[in-house]
Assembly symmetry: C2
Homo-oligomer: 399 residues x 2
C-alpha cells in the first residue's frame, strides 16, 4: 500500500532554527559560543558522594516513582534561598522541573492558547522563543538598553493595543539579571513599573533568573515577583550553580498557578533521584564556599576577556561590562554583519554566536555574544586575539 | 490595584483527575495499587558504581549540557535490543526521553492539533489519556478482549467515519504486550491488521510497550512497528527493567518523525548524566542475568497472587492469567461497583485501583486492577485475604 501524506501538527514545522549556530561542537575551537559553566568548577567529589548516598542509602525511594523526602528538601532550599531576592514563599509555591527550559514550556502552555500573544526582549534567549513558538504564540519584541527591558516602550504598546482593540499579551518574558545575551540587569524602578503594568493590563511576567546567583558584586535586587506575586512566574535553575547535567530547575508562583503548571507532570514530578542527589549534595558541600569559588572564577574570566577585548579591539567595538552571568554583548559599527564573521572565525579557531540569532525580527546584525564562562584564561586571551584577526580581515574585505 | 480574573489556557482545567486514586501513599497499606517495580530488585551496587564513574570519569561531559558519548551508547543498546521484537532501526531512529511519559507527550503534540481525534483502548493507561487531554485531543475508546484491542471494531468505526464524513483519528494508542491494566497481549494477526489499517486510513499508531521485557515465557511477538514502520511511534522505558528513578524512556520511529518529535527538546536532550549512568551500568551489569532475576521474581509473584485469588475468591471473580507485566485485571459480577470497595479495603489495610479509573467513559465499574509487582509474598497473600474479607462484607451489604 502506498504511503499517503500525513498532516502533522502545524506547530512542528513552525519551529525555527534560531540558535542552531550554538550547536557547533568542534573540539578544536575555542568555544566563546558555549553559554555553559566551566567543567572545571563542578563539585565532582561531593556529587559522587551525594549520588552514592542517593542510591545506597535512599535508593529504595529515590529510584522508585515519585515519593521520597528529596523533593521537600530541595523545595525548602529553594524557598529559603529565594529570600535573598525578596521572594517569600511556602514550599508548595515551588515546582521543581527538568531545567528551567521545561518550566518555560509548562508555563507557556498554562498561560496561552495557540494564536495568543507573547512579548519578549530584543535581544532575548532563543531557547525560550523556540518554546513559545512550539506553543504557537505570536511573538513581539521590545528593545533593551543598559537598564534592561525598556518598560516605557512596553507601556506605550499596551496603551496602543487597548486603543486600537488589539490583544494584550498573555505574558511578557524578561531576564532581569545578567541578561542573556545582553549582560545587563533590569533596574529596580523598571521592575516595579512592569509589575504595576501586569496588574493594570492583566498579563503575566515570566521572570527568567537563571544567572541570579552569579552576582559578581554580591548584590541582589528584589525580584519582580516581589512586586506582583499573583502575576509573576519566577524561573531559575541549578544548571549554573551545580551542573547543567543534573537537569533541575524550578518555577515559583502563587499556589494556584503552581497547581495549574503541575498538571503537566500528570501526577509525576521531575526526577526524584536527581532531587535526592541535590539534597545529599547540600549536606556534603558548603554552598556559600562553592558559590564564592564560582563567582571568583567567573569574575576573573570576565576581567580577562574585557582586558583582551580592549587590547585587541580598542575603540572598534563597544560593550557594557556585565556585573554577573556568563556573557559580553559586543556592539560593532553599524555596517558590520557578524553573521559574515562566523565561518572565518571558526576556521581560525574560535566560535561565537552572531547577534541576529538573538532577535525574533531580522535585526541585531552588528552584535555578537561572547561567553567568558567556559574557557580558561589562556583560551580567552587567545580566542579574543583570533577574533580580532578575523574581524580585521573582514573589515579589509568590506572596505 | 485589584486582581482581575486571568484567562488561563483551556487545556489546563480540561485535565481530569483520572488515576488520582493511585496517589494514595499511606505506608501502612499493602499497595496492590502501585504499578511499580519492587524496590528490592534495583541493582543498587552496580548503579552506585555506574553513577560514580559517570561523575568521576565522565563528569566533564556528563555533567555539562548535552555532549558526551552516553547518548550514542544508550541509543545503540536500545536499537540492538529492539531486534528481539523484529524492530530493525538505525540509532538516529531512537530518541531518548524523560520516561515514556514524555515520549507520549511529545508524540501527541507532534501528531495532533487541538480538536483532533485520538483513539484508545478500553480500558487504557490513564497517564496517556491525561496527556492526550492536555493536548486537547477528542478521545474515543474501543474495547479489548483476551487478544487485546478488538481491531475489527476499530475497522468498523473507521469505515463508518469515512461513510458519514467524520474525522479519522490522528493516532490509535495501544499497549500490545501485558496491557496495563488488562494484562493481555495483542495477537499477531491483529497487529498486522492494525498496521494495514494505519496505511489504508492514514493514521499513526502509538505502540506503548513498557512491559515488553517482562515476558514470563520469554516470548517476543513482533512489534506493530515491524508492520508499519512509517506509521508507528514505538515507546518503551528503562523504568521497569532498571529503575523508574532513572527516568529514561525512548521513542522509535522513522528518522523523519524522530526529527519532528526531537524539535520539542529545543536543541537539548534527556539528561546526559542519567544516560551516562545507564551506559556505565551496562558495562558493570549482565543485563541478561538481571532480567532473568526480574522475570523469576515477577512470575513467582504472579503465581502467588493467582493462587491466593483462587483460594479466597473461588468462582466469585474471573481473570486472565497474564504472561508478563505487573497486573491482574479482576472481573467481578455485573452488579458490583469496585469504587464502593476502595475505602473499606483501605481501612482494612489494602489498596487497589477501581476499574472505572481506566476508562474514558463511565464504565468498568465491575473491574479492579491488582499489581503483583511491588509486594513480597507475605504481603500478596495477606492483601488478597483482606480484599476478600472486604468484598464479602460489601456483598453482604448490597444483597
Amino acid at each position: 500500500m502506498s504511503l499517503q501524506p500525513y498532516s502533522f501538527a502545524k506547530r512542528v514545522p513552525a519551529l525555527s532554527p534560531i540558535g542552531a549556530a550554538q550547536a557547533t561542537s568542534r573540539s578544536d575551537l575555542i568555544p566563546f559560543s558555549y553559554g555553559t559553566p566551566s567543567s572545571d568548577l563542578f563539585p565532582y567529589q561531593e556529587l559522587q558522594e551525594a549520588a552514592s548516598a542517593a542510591i545506597l542509602q535512599e535508593g529504595r525511594d529515590s529510584l522508585q516513582y515519585a515519593g521520597a523526602d528529596g523533593p521537600q528538601i530541595v523545595q525548602d532550599w529553594i524557598a529559603n534561598r529565594s529570600k535573598l531576592r525578596s521572594i517569600h514563599v511556602q514550599s508548595n509555591q515551588v515546582l521543581v522541573t527538568y531545567g528551567s527550559q521545561q518550566a518555560i514550556d509548562y508555563a507557556a502552555r498554562t498561560l496561552l492558547e495557540p494564536g495568543d500573544h507573547a512579548w519578549v526582549e530584543a535581544p532575548t534567549y532563543f531557547g525560550a522563543v523556540n518554546t513559545f513558538k512550539a506553543a504557537e504564540a505570536i511573538i513581539t519584541s521590545f528593545p533593551i538598553d543598559e537598564n534592561g527591558l525598556q518598560i516605557e516602550l512596553v507601556e506605550e504598546a499596551l496603551k496602543e493595543a487597548v486603543r486600537v482593540g488589539q490583544p494584550i499579551p498573555k505574558f511578557v518574558y524578561v531576564m532581569p539579571n545578567f541578561h542573556n545575551p545582553g549582560g545587563v540587569s533590569l533596574s529596580l524602578s523598571r521592575r516595579k513599573r512592569l509589575a504595576e503594568l501586569a496588574y493594570e493590563y492583566n498579563f503575566f511576567i515570566l521572570e527568567d533568573d537563571a544567572y541570579a546567583e552569579l552576582a559578581f558584586e554580591r548584590e541582589h535586587i528584589p525580584a519582580i515577583y516581589n512586586f506582583a506575586p499573583e502575576r509573576v512566574i519566577y524561573l531559575s535553575s541549578f544548571s549554573k550553580i551545580i551542573a547543567p547535567g543534573i537537569r533541575l530547575g524550578w518555577a515559583i508562583a502563587s499556589a494556584d498557578v503552581i497547581r495549574r503548571i503541575n498538571t503537566f507532570f500528570q501526577g509525576s514530578m521531575a526526577s526524584v533521584f536527581s532531587q535526592e542527589i541535590v539534597a545529599q549534595l547540600f549536606q556534603k558541600l558548603s554552598f556559600e564556599d562553592h558559590l564564592e569559588m564560582l563567582i571568583t572564577r567567573y569574575k576573573s574570566s570576565r576581567d580577562i576577556m574585557v582586558e583582551a577585548l580592549r587590547q585587541h579591539f580598542g575603540d572598534g567595538i563597544t560593550f557594557q561590562i556585565p556585573n554577573g552571568g556568563f556573557f559580553i554583548w559586543l556592539k560593532f559599527p553599524d555596517h558590520v554583519n557578524t553573521a559574515d564573521l562566523v565561518q572565518d572565525a571558526n576556521e581560525r579557531g574560535v566560535s561565537f554566536i552572531a547577534g541576529n540569532q538573538f532577535f525574533v525580527k531580522p535585526e541585531g546584525a552588528r552584535y555578537a555574544r561572547l561567553s567568558f564562562s567556559y574557557c580558561n584564561e589562556e583560551q580567552i586571551r587567545k580566542g579574543v586575539e583570533i577574533l580580532a584577526h578575523s574581524y580585521n580581515s573582514y573589515l579589509s574585505k568590506i572596505k
